[in-house]
Structures are given as C-alpha cells and as structure tokens.
C-alpha cells in the first residue's frame, strides 16, 4: 500500500470519495508505515485501535452519504494538544501519564470533520527547542540525510515529530504549534509545508501553554493545497480562548489556483543575516525570480528592528513560560516527588520533572520578571515588540506579502549546537520577527542545499490575510517543483 501513503491529503480525499479505497485501508497503510519507521521516533504514542475505529466510522458515514471535509483522512497530532483519554505530555517528564479529561478545540475540530487520529507526535519539551533534542522521549530523526553521509540529522523543532512524520509518509498531514518558528523551521528542515496562521485565528484552548501571546496552532502538510484544507478546519472563533478572533473563516482552498499577477512582494534586506551561507541567498534570489516570472512586482523593503527580534523573543517567551509552567507543582496532575514541606515537594518535583532547557528558560523568565529587573528586561522587550510590529505594519502599506528564507541553514547532526544555547536559538532568527508581530507565515520547500538537504522559503502576510499567503506559497511550490520523497 506504499501508494496510499504517498498521496496528498487532497488526493486521498478524492480517492475516498471515488471509492478507490476505504478509510480503513488508508489508515492501515499508515499504521504499517509507522511500525516500520519507529527508529525515527516521530511518534510518542501510536493510537492504532482508535485510528481503525475512527476509519470504520468514517467509511460508514461515507456509505450513508454523510462525509465531512476530512472524512477518513489519517492525521498526526503534536503531543502539545490535549486529547481526551489519550496521554498528552508536551514531551515532558513532568506530564508523564497525564490523560486529559477534555479535548483541545483544534483537535475537536479535526475529529468533528471526520479525521482519523494516528497518534501523538514527539516534540521539544514544552515546545522549547529547535532541534527536537530536548524531548523527554529522546530525539526525532530527520528522514533526510546528507548526500553520501549517513549521519543522523535533526528534524528541527519544536514540532519535529510532526514534520518528520509528514515527510516520511507516516501521516497525510499533521498539526503543530508555532511560538517563534516551531512549525516553519522544522517544516523547512524536513522538506514539507508548515503554516503559522495569524495569532487568534486558531483557538489555543487545550494547547499546553508555552508563551501565550505567541503560541498558535497550524498545519504541516505535503502541499500548499493541503495546508489550506487543514487550516479551514482548524481555524475559528472559540469563546473558551479569549484571544481567539471572531471573524469568518474563508474557504482557503478556493482562494488557490487564481494566480498571483499584480501581487506586490517585499524583500527585507535586514533578513540577510551575518554568516548566512551563499546557498541560502541564492535560494532566496531564485524565489524572487519565480515570483517575478509570475507577474508580481518585487521591491526591497525595510524592517529596521529585525536584528532585535530574537533577543526580544528570548525575554518575552521565557517570561510567559515561567508564569505558565508554574502550574506544574506535583499537586493536580503529572509527576510528584515527595518532600518535607510543600515548598520542598514543589522544588523536588520541578527539579526532577523539567529538563535542562526548560529550567534555563523558566529561570531566565523568573529573572526578567523579578523585582528590580522587570523594567530593564521585560518592559524593554515589550517596547521592542511594538517597534517590530510597527515595522511590519508600515511595510504592508506598500506590499501584499514578504518573501524571506525560512532558516539561515539546513538541518544539522543530532547533538550539534548543544553547548551554546544562543547558537541553537539562532535557528529562529528569520521566523521569530513575524511571531512577535502575530502575522501569518508559511514555509514552502523550495530546493536542496549543496549537501542535498531541504531548504524552505517563507512567505509572511498581513494579519488575517492567510489567503494571499497561501496563493504566494502555491506560486513558489509550482515553480520549485520540489521532490518531497527525495530522502528515500
């Protein structure tokens, strides 16, 4: 059934509709592929029984003519989403065994439209990481290798399990979350499409919180059309998330296929960061040429505070994390390590339950919020965040989308960049600015590095203009003609 797992989400939907195969066959093909690919460590839990039951139900509904948009399509879920009755751990030892009594809104939307749940995917602990090496379940392995070199590479992070699973045909599509690049960066490293919608587009209810003013769910797929299909189901207003936005969800899929003639594309010179390899610059230029050839008007734009985005992010995100992660105290759920007093119990539980990167960020966050340092760090960062958002707002007065590379380099070996946290943080230098501004952005696989690894181009759009982002991404996808199975 190798052919079934190679289908796009859209093609599988058409195949099910045409009666060429059943949801059960499609699901079983994925479960078989998952069993074979366990060395990648992309899944932390496979929910085979549930998947087959979902598939049978989907087949039954289709027979009755009651099929909904994702009816019978097998999907993988990042372990950051709470799934009722299925352990949800955010890749952390402190949540081992936690079985949510409720369902996140985004996953509930998937199941309500007929999707089949294959399992929960591996991730950096509490989504803090860019290489999927901080997971309590061990690293994920990127299905791609350098040409003629068998060294195991990272898939990127924090949604590394979801992007590796999508690239390796272990699901038709996956969902991830993006705080500073956690969908787009691993999508670029694994040669798949990854989209972060506008902040507020998808409900955060039931997503295990990292940095609440930045966290946003999004789709990971093997085509731009598939991203449009997924986003239409995931998005929408939810009264249970006070920051979710109450505006209609467009039919994203139907906005595709209309071309991009006349579109105004901005290229920010500040994204040419120090030490960026020549091949990334060349890829970017190819992207510019592709869009120019399709009738767009490309112009240079100025986003002057770009270089301050990453340090701003590394104050804002840890500050919010230190507050959000205060809930892990050994009392209500998860790990508990006994102590002599309640404080001793808290301290031992959190010492044993959190990994090194999470501790580092909680401590940084506690420091920048503490008395005497709040103004110098946190308030300063919030002011920079205003300036960064203002840069984008001004840019979107004269352009419709912005084109940049997604990452400053390709995937690297597991174990690299571990000695220096800042070297690891630089993975997100091109994705963090749009996160701070809450903007929709997508990574599209656009070519291979000289070593044969996938590289991505990023399209950033104005708030709630996902449709134009998807159209520009589709134009890049068509011109790039990327072979997503090149890792085989």
């Amino acid at each position: 059934m190798a052919v079934l797992i190679d289908l796009t989400l859209a093609a599988a939907r058409d195949g099910l509709e045409g009666g060429g195969f059943s949801a059960r066959e499609l699901t079983q093909a994925h479960l078989d592929a998952m069993a074979e690919a366990r060395p990648l460590n992309a899944y932390v839990a496979e929910t085979a029984e549930r998947a087959l039951a979902d598939a049978d139900r989907a087949d039954e509904r289709r027979r009755r003519g009651e099929a909904t948009p994702l009816e019978g399509l097998p999907i993988a879920v990042k372990d950051l989403f709470c799934t009722r009755g299925v352990a949800s751990t955010a890749g952390s030892h402190i949540l081992k065994g936690f079985v949510p009594p409720y369902e996140s809104t985004v996953t509930a939307n998937l199941w309500a439209t007929g999707a089949v749940m294959l399992g929960k995917t591996n991730m950096d602990e509490f989504a803090m990481g860019s290489a999927n090496v901080t997971s309590a379940y061990g690293p994920v392995v990127n299905p791609w290798r350098r040409r003629g070199d068998d060294t195991r590479l990272v898939p990127g992070g924090s949604s590394g399990g979801s992007t590796a699973a999508t690239a390796a045909r272990l699901c038709l599509a996956a969902i991830g979350t993006d705080t500073g690049g956690s969908i787009r960066q691993p999508a670029a490293f694994c040669g798949v499409v990854g989209m972060k919608p506008t902040y507020g587009r998808c409900s955060r209810f039931g997503m295990i919180a990292f940095a609440s003013s930045l966290d946003q769910a999004g789709p990971i797929t093997r085509s731009v059309q598939d991203a449009a299909i997924m986003l239409a189901v995931m998005a929408g207003y939810d009264p249970r998330d006070s920051t979710s936005v109450n505006r209609p969800v467009p039919d994203y899929e139907s906005s595709l296929g209309t071309g991009i003639e006349g579109l105004r594309v901005g290229v920010p010179k500040e994204y040419r960061v120090d030490g960026m390899p020549a091949e990334i610059g060349a890829l970017w230029q190819r992207g510019v040429n592709w869009l120019t050839d399709q009738g767009t008007e490309v112009r240079e734009i100025c986003l002057p505070h770009t270089e301050y985005a990453l340090p701003t992010y590394y104050i804002v995100a840890p500050a919010e994390a230190s507050s959000n992660l205060a809930r892990y105290d050994g009392v209500r759920y998860g790990l508990r390590v006994d102590g002599d007093s309640v404080d001793d119990m808290y301290e031992r539980t959190r010492a044993a339950g959190f990994g090194a990167e999470v501790k580092r960020r909680v401590l940084i966050g506690t420091y920048v919020l503490s008395a005497g340092y709040y103004d110098a760090y946190y308030l300063k960062a919030q002011k920079l965040r205003t300036l960064i958002a203002e840069d984008f707002r001004r840019a979107f007065e004269s352009v419709d989308v912005i084109l940049t590379p997604t990452t400053p380099f390709a995937a690297f070996p597991i174990g690299d960049k571990l000695d220096d946290p800042i070297a690891m943080y630089l993975n997100d230098v091109l994705t963090a600015p749009s996160s701070l501004a809450g903007l929709p952005a997508i990574s599209v696989p656009a070519g291979l590095s000289t070593e044969g690894l996938p590289l991505g181009l990023q399209v950033i759009g104005a708030p709630f203009d996902e449709e134009t982002v998807l159209r520009a991404a589709e134009a890049l996808e068509q011109a790039a003609d990327f072979d997503g199975s090149g890792w085989r």
């Binding site: 003013s213 301050y308 506690t366 300063k380 920079l384």
Partner: protein, 95 residues
C-alpha cells in the same frame, strides 16, 4: 549582566526549582551569557514607545456572568498524584 551563584539560588528559589551546587555554577555562566546577549536591546531608544500589550487589536469579548460548566470533580481529580475523596493531598502546611 553577570549573574552570580547567589542570584541563581535566589531565582531558582522564586521559581521553585531545586538546583544542586554542581548545577549552580554552570547555570550562572549560561544565564549570564543569555542575559548579556539580550541586553543588545539597550542599543534601541524606546523613549515614548508604548509596550505591546496585545498583538492583535481586538477587544476582549464579554460573556454572560453565568455558570457554563461544573460538577466535574472526578474529571478534575482524575490525574491527581495523591487524592483523598474530593481533595488533593499536599504535605502538611499547618502544624
């Protein structure tokens, strides 16, 4: 900003994370390194700039002040590491 080991102990205490003597010196170096790096923000004049409070300009929605959920103590306690009836159990707080 260089963070010394005493400061590391202080913030670890605020964050309720036990750290060993051994971890402390490593953390002092790492945190100093990161804080020095983020201090680059001081290059930017932010006089008169309003700090961001909301990334998307929307008014918080109002809802009716009515109970919408409840009577779920078993759900809420289902994951408790220690429970006694309808209570979470913690180490003794009052002598």
């Amino acid at each position: 900003m260089a963070v010394d080991e005493a400061t590391v102990s202080k913030i670890a205490r605020l964050a309720r994370i036990a750290i060993s003597e051994q971890e402390r010196s490593g953390l002092a170096d790492e945190l100093s390194h990161i804080l020095t790096w983020v201090e680059r923000l001081n290059e930017v004049d932010t006089e008169g700039v309003a700090p961001m409070t909301s990334v998307v300009a929307v008014k918080l929605a109002q809802r009716a002040d009515k109970v919408s959920d409840g009577d779920r103590s078993d759900d809420i306690l289902a994951n408790a590491p220690r429970r006694d009836g309808d209570y979470f159990v913690v180490p003794k707080v009052i002598e």
